[in-house]
């Protein structure tokens, strides 16, 4: 099923993890070297920066290739150019697999991703043209291609694409059935993604699913988010208004509003509760995002009109909660600890410093600043720079 050598992939993940253990002081360096020696990895799997560099370069180079093909074929074959594009897309995927994956043992090298997305793009575009831009064949074909790439290449962006296209397919199907069914779209989505979540979560326990572990985590998280979003009052109300031609007067509300208010309030709590009970970090992390969105939803419809007070209070509450939990978890309780057991790769001091500098102000030029501070009151990430 997977395009890569499974044994080697397992070795790669194992060695990566053991290396982190060594860095965190669980193992000695010569132990790591022994393990790495006994678990050989032949992959070309460069670090993130080189991957980005190779990805950009490959995309530009592919742009050149496509352009040359375009110049050659655009004139004489005006009509069938999109059919050619379909085969060009498939062809570039085959080239990726034979030349780069089989021939040179590339594994997520940046080159492979660029070729893969390039291939997906042209194949799907070509198919859409051949299918006369009809929505269902297009969506189904897109889903099949993305799911195929997600499974065969364990690619995360294809996975995201596949899940979202599937969700859209469910949405479109119910929407097109009309009448009552239109209003059942949220429940259809919940009904579709709940079994997917539990099925995928079951898979994550199996040792033979290790090569897909990141794909699985991603599908879990996306399913949870979609289940929540389908029941969120803000999302439901906005989609209802814009898609079902429903114009709400002052004092009116969407049908079954009470159900969606309840879901908005209850789902995050359920996620958090089971996340803590099952010690499931995916659930806990998703629940945190979703709690924030629920607070936003209720603030949006029941605002008291003082955003700065809300901001300050929300901040104070978050600080208090975090500090309280830090104090509470001084000692391990029910299997939770506040200590950093295994460092995450993305959480170095340098990236953190960069995030702080970008979100906590200090990057606004002086000129034109004048004295109109506080007037803006922008909230959210980048907007906090007019604090001073």
């Amino acid at each position: 099923m997977i395009a890569y050598d499974k044994k080697m992939l397992q070795n790669l993940y194992l060695v990566k993890e053991v290396k982190q253990w060594m860095k965190d002081g669980y193992l000695r360096e010569e132990q790591f070297r022994n393990i790495a020696l006994e678990h050989p990895v032949k992959f070309y799997h460069p670090n993130l920066i080189i991957r980005i560099l190779l990805f950009i370069a490959t995309l530009i180079a592919l742009g050149g290739v496509t352009g040359i093909f375009g110049l050659i074929f655009a004139g004489p074959m005006e009509e069938s150019i999109m059919i050619l594009a379909f085969f060009y897309g498939i062809g570039s995927c085959v080239v990726m697999e034979i030349v780069f994956i089989r021939g040179n043992h590339h594994y997520k090298s940046g080159v492979t991703e660029a070729l893969l997305y390039h291939s997906i793009g042209w194949t799907v575009a070509g198919f859409l043209y051949m299918a006369d831009w009809q929505i269902y064949p297009g969506l189904i074909f897109g889903f099949v291609v993305l799911a195929f790439c997600a499974i065969r290449y364990a690619d995360l962006i294809s996975t995201t694409g596949a899940v979202l296209v599937f969700a859209y397919l469910v949405f479109q199907a119910f929407y097109d059935m009309g009448d009552i069914m239109k209003f059942l779209v949220p429940f259809a989505l919940i009904a579709a993604f709940t079994p997917i979540y539990f099925y995928v979560r079951g898979l994550s326990r199996k040792i033979e699913m290790q090569p897909w572990k990141n794909v699985i985590i991603l599908v879990e998280a996306l399913s949870l988010l979609l289940i929540y979003a389908a029941g969120n009052y803000f999302v439901v109300r906005n989609t209802t208004e814009s898609l079902l031609d429903l114009y709400l007067e002052e004092g009116q509300d969407i049908p079954y509003a009470i159900i969606f208010y309840a879901l908005t309030a209850i789902v995050p709590v359920v996620y958090l509760y089971f996340g803590i009970r099952k010690k499931d970090l995916v659930l806990i992390r998703v629940s945190l995002i979703v709690i924030a969105f629920s607070v936003f939803t209720f603030k949006y419809y029941f605002s008291l009109g003082h955003p700065e007070v809300s901001l300050t209070l929300a901040g104070a509450i978050l600080i208090t909660v975090a500090m309280g939990l830090f104090r509470y978890l001084r000692i391990n309780r029910s299997g939770f600890t506040r200590e950093n057991l295994i460092k995450e790769k993305w959480a170095g001091a340098n990236p953190e410093a960069f995030v702080i500098s970008q979100t906590l102000g200090g990057n606004k030029p002086l000129e034109g600043e004048a004295v109109e501070m506080g007037g803006g009151g922008q909230s959210g990430g980048g907007g906090s720079s007019d604090r001073w």
């Binding site: 993940y13 993890e17 669980y26 132990q31 022994n34 393990i35 006994e38 460069p46 993130l48 080189i50 560099l53 950009i56 370069a57 490959t58 180079a61 742009g63 050149g64 290739v65 352009g67 040359i68 110049l71 040179n104 040792i207 806990i284 700065e308 901001l311 300050t312 209070l313 901040g315 978050l318 600080i319 975090a322 500090m323 391990n332 299997g335 939770f336 600890t337 506040r338 200590e339 295994i342 959480a347 001091a349 340098n350 410093a353 702080i356 500098s357 102000g361 200090g362 990057n363 030029p365 002086l366 000129e367 600043e369 004295v371 506080g374 009151g377 980048g382 906090s384 604090r387 001073w388």
Partner: protein
């Protein structure tokens, strides 16, 4: 990792019983760390709180309620600094390890609140005569002090961005994206000298041995400001574009050289991306005028580049 794989590592005697006992609860998730979750909550809290306070300060000035808010703000700032200083390790030129998992965020909160207090005093009592300029400079200097005293990279990056904004340069990708990086056209010269100055001071500090782990942050900001300054000059100031092209290539060469000696991939990325943009701009001006040649240039240059990176892959391997 699956628990079976860990057992196998022990059975094949790669790890001993003690190490197995230490790792087993982590791998089997009997013990789960919420370190990052709590820190992110705390961070978001600090962000929202300081933003909210920043706005509150300027609203309803003169009210009784406002006075209460300001008083609380002063007390809170004092409390945070008391905490920061009382738990602080003595100053050292090296990296300082703290045992409290939230210590550095309290320092951050203290610094941000202090700036709120300072800008309130400026707003209300005209603390500094010539307004926002001095305030920004003082802010920056204070951040630098705190960054070195408490060994805090985040505060250091705030200090650098504040210093940059004193020179009217905004150090933020969002701003570059919308083309607001430099307020007025001639600022690219300021940016070039500012970036250069930042890089040189960073290298001197590194040489002397003061806080070597700060060097990356300095060079990262300085290098980016310098390279963007050169690029802006190249695009805007057509009459002197040769000068800026040479400056750009010199900067890229320096970045590549630094990347070479320190094995820092970030600077490889900068060197190549900026170098490529500069080169393409130059060639577009001189030779590239036909669509066909363009496509061959794109294909050839990037294809050759990919080939080179993969050919010398052992060179680009992470050393540590």
């Amino acid at each position: 990792m699956h628990i079976q794989e860990l057992k196998e590592l022990k059975n094949r005697e790669f790890i001993d019983q003690g190490q197995f006992d230490a790792l087993e609860p982590i791998v089997s998730r009997k013990l789960v760390s919420v370190f990052y979750e709590l820190r992110i909550i705390l961070y978001l809290g600090i962000m929202l709180f300081t933003t909210g306070v920043g706005i509150l300060i300027y609203k309803n000035i003169g009210d009784i309620g406002h006075l209460v808010v300001i008083t609380i703000l002063f007390l809170l700032t004092a409390a945070c600094f008391y905490f920061a200083f009382s738990k602080a390790e003595p100053y050292s030129n090296w990296k300082i390890r703290t045992s409290l998992p939230y210590y550095d965020y309290i320092v951050l909160l203290a610094c941000l609140l202090f700036i709120s207090v300072l800008s309130y005093l400026q707003f209300q009592y005209e603390l500094f005569d010539n307004g926002m300029g001095t305030l920004t400079l003082v802010t920056s200097l204070f951040f630098f002090y705190a960054a070195y005293r408490f060994d805090h990279l985040g505060v250091l990056s705030l200090a650098i961005t504040a210093l940059a904004s004193f020179w009217s340069i905004s150090v933020s990708p969002q701003k570059w994206y919308t083309g607001e990086f430099l307020d007025s056209d001639s600022l690219y010269r300021t940016a070039i000298f500012f970036g250069l100055g930042l890089c040189i001071s960073a290298l001197i500090l590194d040489k002397v041995g003061i806080k070597k782990h700060f060097t990356f942050t300095y060079l990262n900001f300085g290098g980016l400001v310098y390279l963007i300054g050169c690029l802006s000059g190249l695009f805007i100031d057509y009459d002197h574009y040769g000068v800026f092209l040479v400056a750009l290539f010199a900067g890229c060469a320096a970045a590549a050289y630094y990347a070479h000696i320190r094995k820092s991939f970030m600077f490889v990325l900068y060197a190549f991306v900026f170098g490529y943009i500069g080169l393409t701009y130059f060639l577009a001006d001189v030779v590239l005028d036909d669509a066909g040649i363009w496509f061959f240039y794109l294909m050839g240059s990037c294809g050759g580049f990919i080939y080179m990176i993969i050919r010398f892959k052992s060179y680009f391997k992470r050393s540590a």
